[in-house]
Every structure is written in C-alpha cells, then in structure tokens.
C-alpha cells in the first residue's frame, strides 16, 4: 500500500465512549476504536444505525467528550472543538437570521483574525462559489432548498480551511438526486483542496463511491472497527465509470455482507494492535459470491 508512506493526519487509538449508568455499570458505546488516517485520505465510516459511528465522528470533532483513549490530529492531541476540524452536520444548521454569506463569514472572522475585510470577503465568496452558490450569497436559509442549505453548510466548513473535514451523514436528509449532486461537489472540493476527510454514512453506494477506505463498524455496544476495505478506484472519480466498474459491485457486496452478517456477531470486531488494518478486498471469497447470487435470485 503506497498510502502508508504519507504522514498521518489523524490517529485514533483505543478510543472509548462511555455513558455513565446511574446504577454503576457504565455503558460503553464505543470501545477500542483504532484508526489511522493519512493526509489527503477520504475515509467513510459505515455501520448500522446506533452503532456509534456518529459518536466517533463527534469525538473527533471535539463536540463529544472522549472517555478513554485519544485522538491526535496534526501531531496534537485534541480536547475541544476547533476550526482545524470542520464539521458538516446532518442538518444544515444555518443561522436562519443570517444570509448565506453571513453564515459562512461567521467562522471566517474567527479563523482569520488578521485578514483584512476584503480578504475575508474573498474567502467567503470563494468557498460559496466552490459549492455553486455564487449567485445565492445574499439569500436567507428559508429561501434555499435543503440541498442548497447543505451546500452553504459545506461552504462554511471549507472556508475554515480545516486539516480534516468531518461529514456527519451530510446527505441523510436529502433526496437521492440532490445527494448525488452534493457527493460530486464534495469529491470535487476534496480533489482540489487535498483535504483529509471522514464521512459517516449508512448508504453503501456513497461509502464506496466517495472513500479511499471504508471503515465498517461492528454493532454496539462496545462497537469498534470491524473491517476496513480499500477502495481501489483512481481519483478523480467519475460517477458513471465507477458505477459501471465490476469492482464497484464487489466492494458493495462486501460491505453489504458485512452489514448483514458479520456486524451482528458480537466479538467479531477485529482490532489491530498497531491501529492499522490490512485491506480486505483480496479475500472476497466464494462466500461473498454466494451471498451475491442468493441476493440476485431473491430479487428475481
């Protein structure tokens, strides 16, 4: 794997999220979650609802307290949120009393305290035009559709020029056409800005199409990394090409198989001592083919 040579952008080691239980036995949502992310890499985190994938992301964002273990971003252990880890939330979370421009400016002012007014304005305008909202800067959230609102959310995140872009089910509330548009927007941005990113999703296609590596989480409680799947498509990616590639279906089936079978078995999560995981793409054996044919026949 050539990517291992690149410096690590994020290191997550033995991450634990524990919710105290009033009767003494604490409830561990996430346990021993280990993951290294290389610079410029795009990770997708997939798993069943409630398995704790959003918890991992919010801990990485600093919005959720870390119970044990740690996260290092850019050689510094994190303990609070910050603009080096911009988040795109599931809801656009725009301030309804500010227009698109002002919403993006909100963070820019803080992140670039020494920039002149014109410079800040340029940054905001640039990030809004990157997401295709050059014409809608003066519009208020209520005048924008859900998809356009989420674009503002993305613009707000990238305007901070973060080290890591965190996407928390960003397209969960959008219809599939808008979702595809926004996926392309994100992919374009990442290709251009060379950002490290992590996306939490439960859409298998999205996880495969967007990411360099798919991290499959086992089911909670005590969820951890179940498997990691290397996605071998070259970048920049083209939707049509990727979706026609037979490998796409292999990856997809692999993920589905994991989600349908392995994730349910307790104790099946595989953690690796060094926090790194080898790719699983080479062992899509007969087993998976079987599932694929079974599925096909069931559909027929």
């Amino acid at each position: 794997m050539s990517t291992t040579a690149l410096p690590r952008a994020v290191e997550i080691y033995n991450l634990v999220k524990e919710y105290p239980n009033p009767y003494g036995d604490d409830f561990r949502v996430v346990e021993n979650f280990n993951l290294n992310i290389q610079e410029g890499e795009f990770i997708s985190l997939i798993g069943h609802s409630g398995c704790g994938k959003s918890t991992v992301l919010t801990m990485l964002a600093g919005l959720n307290e870390i119970s044990d273990g740690g996260i290092i971003v850019g050689k510094k252990e994190i303990d609070s949120p910050g603009p080096d880890r911009a988040v795109v939330f599931q809801a656009p979370c725009l301030m309804p009393w500010l227009n698109a421009f002002q919403n993006v400016m909100l963070g820019v002012k803080n992140v670039y305290p020494h920039a002149t007014k014109a410079e800040r304005k340029q940054i905001v305008e640039h990030s809004l035009s990157v997401v295709g909202l050059a014409d809608a800067m003066k519009k208020y959230p209520r005048e924008l559709s859900g998809g356009l609102q989420q674009r503002v959310g993305i613009a707000r995140a990238i305007a901070l020029q973060p080290k890591v872009l965190l996407l928390d089910e960003p397209f969960g509330r959008l219809d599939s056409l808008t979702r595809m548009e926004l996926q392309d927007v994100i992919i374009d941005i990442l290709a251009r800005e060379k950002l490290t990113a992590m996306i939490v999703t439960h859409d298998v296609d999205e996880a495969v199409f967007m990411a360099d590596r798919c991290v499959m989480m086992s089911n909670g409680p005590k969820a951890g990394v179940g498997e990691i799947l290397e996605i071998g498509f070259p970048r920049p990616r083209n939707r049509v090409e990727v979706f026609q590639d037979p490998k796409f279906f292999e990856y997809r089936e692999h993920l589905l198989a994991f989600l349908e079978q392995r994730a349910h078995f307790k104790g099946s999560s595989r953690t690796f001592s060094n926090g790194d995981t080898m790719g699983y793409c080479d062992i899509i054996g007969e087993e998976l083919e079987k599932t694929a044919t079974a599925r096909a026949s069931s559909v027929a």
Binding site: G62, C93, M95, L106, G107
Partner: protein, 550 residues
C-alpha cells in the same frame, strides 16, 4: 401570479394584514381585487358578518337589560348613554384645548379671536333665547298634558279620600257602640277585639288603594313627556355653550398671557412714574418693592403654563407615558438578567428563589412599597426635586422644547411606573431565560466548531435565536403592565385612566357610571392596540416567519 402593479398592491396589502394579525380583513381585500368572489363572500359572511351580528346582539341585550338594573347612582348606563359620555368628554377636551389656545394667543390674533368669540356669543344668545322659549312652551304643553292625565286620577283620589273619611267615621261609631254594649254586659269582651282587628284590616286595604292611586299620579308627574326633556336639554346645552364662550372671552381679555404681562408692566411703569415724583420715604419703599415684585412676576408669566385639566385625552396620554416608562424599565432589567439566567445554570439557580417568591406578589403591595422606598428619594419637597423640575421644564437648556412637559410628572407617576415595571418584569425575564436556554443545540455546536468567542456567540447566535421568545415575553409584559397600571393609578391617585375611573366612582352620579364604562372601553381598546404592536414586532424578529425580510 402575474406581477402587475395591481397584484403588487394586493399582495403588499395582504402581507401587511397577515403581519399585523388582522386576518379578518383578508377576504374583503381579495374581494376588492376580484379574487374568487364566491369564496370571499362566504368568508366575509362567516368571519365578519356573523361576529358583527353577535356583537350587535350583545349591545342590544345590554341596552335592554341596563335600564332595569337600578343602582344607588341611578340605572346602569345603556350603550347610548356611554356614547353620550364619550361625546361629552370629547367636547370637554376640545373646549380645554380652545381655552389653552386662547391663553397663548397674542397680538392681532388675539383681537381677531375676541371679535370672533363675541360674534359667536351674540349668535348663540339669540339661539339660546329661542330654545329657552321653546323649552318654556314645551314645559307648558307638557304640564297641560300631565294635568290632563292626572285630572281623572286626582278626581278618583278625592272620591276615595271622601269614602275613606266616611268609612272611618262609621267605623268609629260602630266601635263605640260595641264598646258601650260590652260595658253594659250585652256582648262578650272578645267581640271588641275582633272588630278592632277587622277595622284595622279594612283601614289597611283602604291605604293600599290610596297608595296605588298616589303612585300612578307620581309616575305621571315624574315622567313628563320626552319633548319637554329634549327641549330642556337643548336649552341647557345652548346655555352651556354660551358659558364656555364667555369664559373664553374672559381668558382672552383678562387672563391671557400677553394681557397679564402687559398689565403687570403697565403697573411697573406707573409705579416708576410715581417713584420718580415721590417725596414720601414710605411711599418710595413701597413703590420700589412693588416694582421689583411686579417685574419678577411679569418675567415669570412667560414660564407659566395653562394648568392642564384632566381631560380624558390627557389622562390617556399620561397613562401611556407611564406604562411606556414602566415597560422600558422592565425590559432593560429583564432582558440582560434573563440572558444571564439562560446562559448560566448557577445564575438561574441563584435567581429562581427570588423570581418564584416575588412574581406572585400583588401590584398593590408593590405600589405601597415603592411609595415608601422610592418616595424617600424625593424628600423633603418632591415638587422641588431636580427630577421633576427637569421633567416639567418648558425648555431644556433654554432652547430644546420639552415634549413631555404637559405630562406634569409627579412622584405618584413614578410610583405607578415602578409598579408597572415590577409586575411586567417577570414574564419578560422568564421568557428570555427560556428562549436563551432553548437554543438549538446544533447552533451551539456550530459555534463551538467555529470557536466563537463569548461575545460573538452572544450577539451572533444566542440573542438572535432567542429574540422571538423574548418578544413573546415582552408582549405578555406589556399586557400585564397595562392592566397593573390602571389599578396602580387608581390607588396612587396618579393622573391617568385609573384615576379617572376612581374619581368617577367617588362622584357616584349616573353620568359617572357611564364614564366608568367609557374608560373601560378606552382601556380595552388601547390594550388591544398595544398588543397588536407587540405582535407585529414579534413577527418582524421571527426569522422562521416568511413575513420577515431583512
């Protein structure tokens, strides 16, 4: 929708109606622009005509029931009487304004006004004479009618009186005869008792009959024909009008500002002349003194104001000013404290006991407390306290016209305002705290990710997002304040609608009863409009509402 200018006007109007909450006027506007007339007419029927009919019905029931309820100050006022009270009060107000104007007039305007008033007086006098005559004639006619109506009744009464007299005499004889028989032992003693009892019963029955006739006559006498009343009223009104114009003439001629000053200065001149020629030392002293005082008085005439009379318009203005000041104090205190409570749980915990204990306290108690506590600041002589001398000055710094001088601010007004503030404080405070603590968690997360500082978070996120609830609280506060104010004014005798009601109650005539009902309507209508204003403000700051545009 086509964007013709007509449509623009239409949708602009509809938007305004929606914003101000007068949804009822939506169908008429749409109808006026010809949109789906059938639907609009049915809407108008349901939501305008029916309510109007219902309210008319209520008024009708009121006017039917009111006269039947006799109170110690006459029958309860009918809607008509209340309307009359409104007319009387507004006439009174207009007259006071005229007098004030006359007081301020000077130069040629004054002489012109004098001739105007004089000619009006002569006109009115002629008219009044006629009305007086008409009234006398009507009274005579009425008296004739009454006499005619009474004549048969009084004949009956006379007859009855005569009958009663004879019956009484015969009863007396019968009783005496029986008594004589009893004395002679011809009848048992108990028969006398029976007869006495019988006789007293008949006497009672006779009295009853007489009373009925008396009442009938009295009823006719007390209720002369309406025409007499009307003529009398018209004559009185004319006489009243003449009196008013005479008073105006008096003001114009003698107590006018300019005239007063001129008279004083003339006196100074004559005194100076006398002083120059005088050789008597005591005269020199007295004239010098008089010159000094008169010069001073002449100078002070400029600063003198025509004392504001308690017209209902003036009382209303004072009430509005008081409630505004009280509301402002409440908002200034409640919003920052509410924000602190919402932001910090410890502050909330510290203030919760205070809020919970003082919120239910009656405004009356607050008023008394403020009279003592705040009153202490105005000792020893409230009238000379710098606050009031400043607020009641005609000109500030000698050239800025004081717009609130007419309010005649006094300690009682301050106490009422403080009471209003104290009672209006709580809803605004609680709602602000609620609004701040109920901020969307996502918004706070955004603020955390963006690493906004305290002030940026406060002004960019916390305050804007809690504004709708803050304004909802302020709206309740203003409603509470207005309600409390009327009670506070009544109790503290601070001039205003509350005092108006209280004074009228103390007056206790049938007219004052109508005045109280009138004040009730004025208070209600003003309260309604204050609430509307707050609704509009609330809607303007509500970002979720499509009607707000920045």
């Amino acid at each position: 929708m086509a964007d013709t200018p007509k449509d623009k006007i239409k949708y602009g109007l509809l938007k305004f109606i929606d914003l101000s909450g007068f949804k009822v006027f939506d169908p008429p506007v749409r109808l006026a622009f010809g949109e789906d007339p059938k639907k609009q007419i049915s809407e108008i029927g349901k939501f305008m005509i029916l309510p109007i009919i219902f309210v008319s019905l209520c008024i009708f029931i009121w006017s039917a029931v009111a006269p039947t309820h006799k109170t110690k100050s006459g029958a309860a006022p009918t809607p008509k009487q209340v309307w009359g009270a409104w007319e009387d009060n507004s006439r009174f107000g207009e007259r006071e304004d005229e007098k004030l104007e006359d007081y301020e007039l000077s130069g040629e305007a004054r002489t012109a006004r004098i001739t105007e008033v004089e000619s009006r007086i002569s006109e009115l006098e002629a008219e009044s004479l006629k009305l007086e005559e008409a009234s006398t004639i009507a009274a005579e006619k009425g008296a004739a009618i009454t006499a005619k109506q009474i004549a048969p009744l009084s004949a009956q009464l006379d007859e009855l009186k005569a009958e009663i007299k004879t019956a009484k005499a015969s009863r007396k004889i019968a009783l005496e005869n029986l008594a004589a028989k009893v004395a002679a032992g011809e009848s048992p003693a108990s028969s006398v008792l029976t007869l006495v009892q019988q006789q007293s019963e008949t006497a009672e029955a006779e009295k009853e009959k007489r009373k009925i006739l008396d009442d009938q006559i009295k009823e006719i006498r007390d209720n002369p024909p309406e025409s007499i009343k009307a003529a009398q009223l018209a004559a009185n009104k004319a006489a009243d009008e003449i009196q008013h114009f005479k008073k105006r003439l008096d003001i114009l001629n003698t107590s006018n500002k300019e005239v007063k000053k001129a008279a004083l200065l003339a006196k100074v001149d004559t005194d100076e002349a006398i002083l120059a020629a005088s050789t008597d030392p005591s005269e020199i002293i007295s004239k010098s003194k008089s010159i000094v005082t008169n010069t001073e008085n002449a100078a002070s005439v400029d600063e003198q104001r025509f004392a504001p009379t308690a017209t209902i318009a003036w009382q209303t203005k004072r009430s509005l000013a008081t409630v505004f000041v009280g509301f402002l104090i409440a908002a200034i205190v409640a919003i920052p404290v509410g924000i602190m409570c919402g932001l910090n749980k410890i502050v909330m915990a510290c203030l919760t006991p205070i809020i919970s204990i003082f919120r239910p306290v009656s405004p009356v108690v607050w008023l008394l407390i403020f009279q003592i506590v705040v009153g202490a600041f105005f000792l020893p002589d409230p009238a000379k306290h710098p606050l009031f001398t400043t607020l009641n000055q005609d000109y500030w710094f000698g050239w800025i016209k004081n717009p609130i001088a007419f309010l005649n601010t006094n300690p009682a007004m301050i106490f009422s305002a403080c009471t209003v503030a104290m009672c209006a404080l709580w809803p605004a405070l609680v709602n602000t705290a609620l609004g701040v603590s109920a901020i969307d968690k996502d918004h706070l997360n955004v603020a955390r990710v963006l690493k906004l500082g305290f002030w940026a978070r406060l002004f960019k996120i916390v305050i804007p997002s809690s504004l709708p609830l803050v304004f909802a609280g302020l709206r309740i506060s203003l409603g509470v304040g207005w309600m409390v104010l009327i009670a506070a004014e009544a109790l503290s005798s601070s001039d205003g609608l509350g005092k108006f009601v209280w004074d009228e109650y103390q007056n206790g005539s049938s007219q004052s009863f109508a005045n109280i009902i009138l004040a009730c309507f004025i208070v209600g209508i003003i309260g309604f409009f204050l609430d509307r204003i707050m609704i509009i403000l609330q809607r303007l700051v509500s970002f979720d509402d499509g009607s707000s545009t920045a």
